[in-house]
Amino acid sequence: MYRLDKETGKQKFFAGDGTKSVISALISIFIGMLVGTLIVVFVGLNSDGISAKGILEGIKLIFLGLFSTGRDGGDLSFGFNVVNIGNMLFRATPLILTGLSVAVAFKTGLFNIGAPGQYLMGTAASICIALSVPTSSVPAGIVWVLAFCGGILAGALWGAVPGALKAFLNINEVITCIMTNWIAANLVTWFFDKSNLKNMTEAGKVGYTYKTSVNGVQTPGLGLDKIFAGSQVNGGIIIAVIIAVIMYVMMSKTTFGYELKACGANRHAAKYAGINDKKNIILSMVIAGGLSGSAAALYWLSGHTEFYWSTYQALPAVGFNGIPVALLAANNPIAVIFSGCFMSILNIAGMQLKTLTAYNEYITDIIIATIVYLSAFSMMIKTIINNVQKKKSEKGGEK
């Protein structure tokens, strides 16, 4: 009897849709890491500079890069590395927020591929405010808040453009997002080119803005900088987590979220029910844009990041990486916190590969790319899980 009970318990666990999403995400990650490993092996075998030991080290770093503590003697050493973890959390902050940006839009039936553009507009606004408002007359804390809100607002406005075009003219948001991305890239380049925020003082630096700490504006550490001493982490990660929780509550507990999701799932039925579908589509994109803007603000207001403003030829990867973060999390705002951290861990692993071995950091990009592909297949993986379950239950029935 005991065994039977245990089995039904297991079946219930696997039957949940949430569980299946988690499992399919884990499978995607696993296969992605495997592909990364294979590439490490192939690259190693084909280059003279990398020995068998080098290959092994590369593989170790892909899986354990976060816990790398450098080299001890000739060998890689691993252990609890507060600097790595702190840096991981710092880099996870914007990823969580752009991930939320994409996830919230997805939940309301919109594909926000415009996160890079919204991120850039948020960047420009927050850096501009943080460097221009004199901290001699306005307290630095207030300037920080102004810059943070300015970043959100700029991102939100930039998100509103594709939203409005979709709502009123029914133009596909993917197309308008791509266009607004490049408009943002050029606009931002032009703006900084004409501004006096360019860093001209440090020799050899071309195309960077000043750090916001030049004006004394910098995200408070909230104790995290003490815990993870020597790393870049600050209170931004806490703000990102709070925002994720707020998004979760908003989407699943409030009438506002109910309306947004209804518009996303069936615009016609929402309209039939008296919900203002146009308003809600615009609001979805405004929220998504604001989230991307906040990602930018928290990254650039840290005080030790310098923005390379001559960005007209490239869009920020952190904007696009919001898509795999959201996909891995199956668009659940709470899960986005974890998938954002995971992406950031890969990022750290990439840096460790670069500094400690003959490999470069692009291997982690391949892992991310593989995971993105597989995330798109998560439906298929779910189906496979279903089929395996069905077969198992059939076998059990025959016994």
């Binding site: 507990k253 409030t254 009438t255 209804a262 039925a269 309209k271 039939y272 029910a273 008296g274």
Partner: protein, 511 residues
């Protein structure tokens, strides 16, 4: 010569979680019209799809002329002479009638089309069976009735002698239905065998020789049509006695609830107005029925009334207040319930759960939210109450995804939601479309009950039976105008049909 042209023996077809066909045996004689009767979800379409090669059965055999055959895809079926007219026509709108008929079976020489032979053959067939079509017209320009004749010609052109008709009369006027029946009898006389899927008892009695009844995937039996009555058939089909004719008392109209004057709604497809200067009143305690063939402006009329589309002219007064320019929510709150025509497009958010759908308009009521936060316990309580009261059946109760529910229960959920709002005006558009006799009876009774409670009911229906049995007054729409107001007690289906097809109209006067 074997007795049966087609034998389907002990067919079993399963889908995940459901047995769609359970040990069904169906035998078709040469030259007979054999009706297949059953509720929605009884397994009729599945059985026909098995015969047409779209599904493979888990168990059972199919015999053609006594020989066992394996039908693995529709091409096999065509080779065996089995043809099917689907409920939703499979025609290419921008092709001509002739091109549609020969598509897939073109006569060619050195890879070039030889349409002349094809044209002669089709013309000959059309002559012989009285299937009037214009071979050079594009499908998009011809009537639905003619499109159906094209589908029939497609089967004949392929020399099919076993013809499956899947609910062929749903889109036709009474006159066209009569014509179709005559055509079917002609086929039977020629020795062709016909399988006729339907849930309309009148048609079965009129045209079929034998009837096989399915109920919940099981075969209830095969009977000779002349040995049974309509009520016996419906009892077999539903599994319990059904009241076919709705009994309703005299209507007692009270005050005007809805008053429409000169309502004009532009069309989305063409430049003309879809609804042209329509005026009428609906009073409390009466069912006013808008009758007409599909596509004569009924949809746009309702969209104009409910606010889904903007009207270009006219005025609408509901419960004494002018709602001509009001938002959808304003209209709804003023006192309008709307059972929409398309339950998947407008009626439900299919990815939402049943309970979320049941509060689709009410989620903002203080009962269901506090400070913008949804009161999930109250929503659940309310949903459970409606599910109980209106007998909405689903896999997991209130948390079932609407998408996974059967069509009948989806409709029940919409009706529960709309009637429970207790609005003085109920606009019901084809509320029984695609539903089975049992569910139809239930919905009809509810509408009459609402009328007797003093509600004004505006019913838009394409089903003449429904119009005749429910309406207290009938307004016939033709090409966007109301061409006649009829009293169902003083008219019959024939006269109604004449108005619907535009052959007859009242001179417009003050009503």
């Amino acid at each position: 010569m074997p007795e049966y042209v087609i034998e389907m023996n002990h067919i079993r077809k399963e889908f995940p979680g459901i047995v769609a066909n359970d040990d069904i045996t169906l035998k078709l004689r040469k030259g007979e019209i054999h009706a297949l009767l059953g509720e929605n979800g009884a397994g009729k379409s599945t059985l026909m799809s098995v015969l047409f090669g779209l599904y493979q059965p888990e168990k059972g055999t199919i015999k053609k002329d006594g020989q066992e055959v394996k039908i693995e895809n529709p091409n096999d079926a065509t080779e065996l002479g089995i043809g099917m007219v689907h409920q939703h026509f499979k025609l290419i709108d921008v092709f001509t009638v002739l091109d549609n008929i020969i598509l897939g079976a073109e006569t060619t020489k050195f890879g070039f089309l030889k349409k002349k032979e094809a044209r002669e053959k089709v013309a000959e067939l059309s002559e012989r069976y009285g299937l009037k079509v214009n071979l050079n017209a594009k499908v998009e320009d011809i009537t639905v009735g003619m499109q159906q004749r094209v589908e029939i010609l497609k089967m004949l052109y392929r020399d099919n002698d076993i013809l499956i008709f899947d609910e062929p009369t749903a889109v036709l006027t009474p006159q066209e239905i009569d014509e179709l029946m005559e055509i079917m009898r002609g086929f039977a006389r020629e020795g062709k065998s016909i399988l006729f899927i339907t849930h309309k008892l009148n048609e079965i009695m009129a045209v079929s020789d034998r009837v096989t009844v399915l109920h919940k995937g099981k075969c209830i039996g095969t009977v000779n049509t002349k040995d049974v009555t309509k009520s016996e058939l419906s009892t077999m089909m539903v599994g319990r006695p059904v009241q076919l004719e709705i009994t309703k008392g005299e209507s007692r109209p009270t005050d005007v609830v809805l008053s429409v004057r000169d309502l004009t709604v532009p069309s989305k497809v063409h430049k003309n107005d879809a609804v042209r200067s329509v005026s009428f009143d609906v009073r409390g305690g009466e069912i006013v029925c808008i009758a007409g063939i599909d596509g004569n402006g009924q949809t746009e009329l309702v969209q104009g009334l409910t606010g889904l589309e903007k009207m270009s002219r006219g005025s609408i007064t509901l419960c004494g207040s002018d709602i001509s320019g009001a938002s959808i929510r304003k209209r709804s709150v003023t006192g309008m319930s709307h059972i929409p025509e398309d339950r998947h497009k407008h009626g439900l958010v299919l990815d939402y759960t049943l309970e979320q759908n049941l509060v689709l308009q009410k989620y903002k009521d203080p009962q269901f939210q506090r400070g913008g936060f949804i009161r999930f316990d109250e929503v659940r309580k309310y949903a459970d109450k409606l599910i109980e009261e209106y007998d909405v059946r689903s896999g997991q109760g209130a948390v079932t995804t609407a998408r996974s529910m059967s069509g009948g229960n989806q409709q029940k959920a919409i009706i529960a939601r709309e009637l429970d709002r207790d609005a003085p005006l109920i606009i019901a558009v084809q509320p029984t479309r695609g539903l089975d006799v049992g569910a139809i009876e239930h919905i009809h009774r509810q509408l009459v009950h609402e009328r007797d409670r003093g509600k004004a009911v505006l019913l838009v229906s394409l089903e003449l039976d429904e119009v005749m049995s429910l309406a207290d007054r009938i307004l016939v729409m033709y090409e966007g105008e109301i061409v006649g107001e009829l009293d169902p007690k003083k008219t019959d289906a024939q006269e109604l049909g004449l108005y619907m097809s535009g052959a007859k109209r009242e001179e417009k006067g003050e009503q």
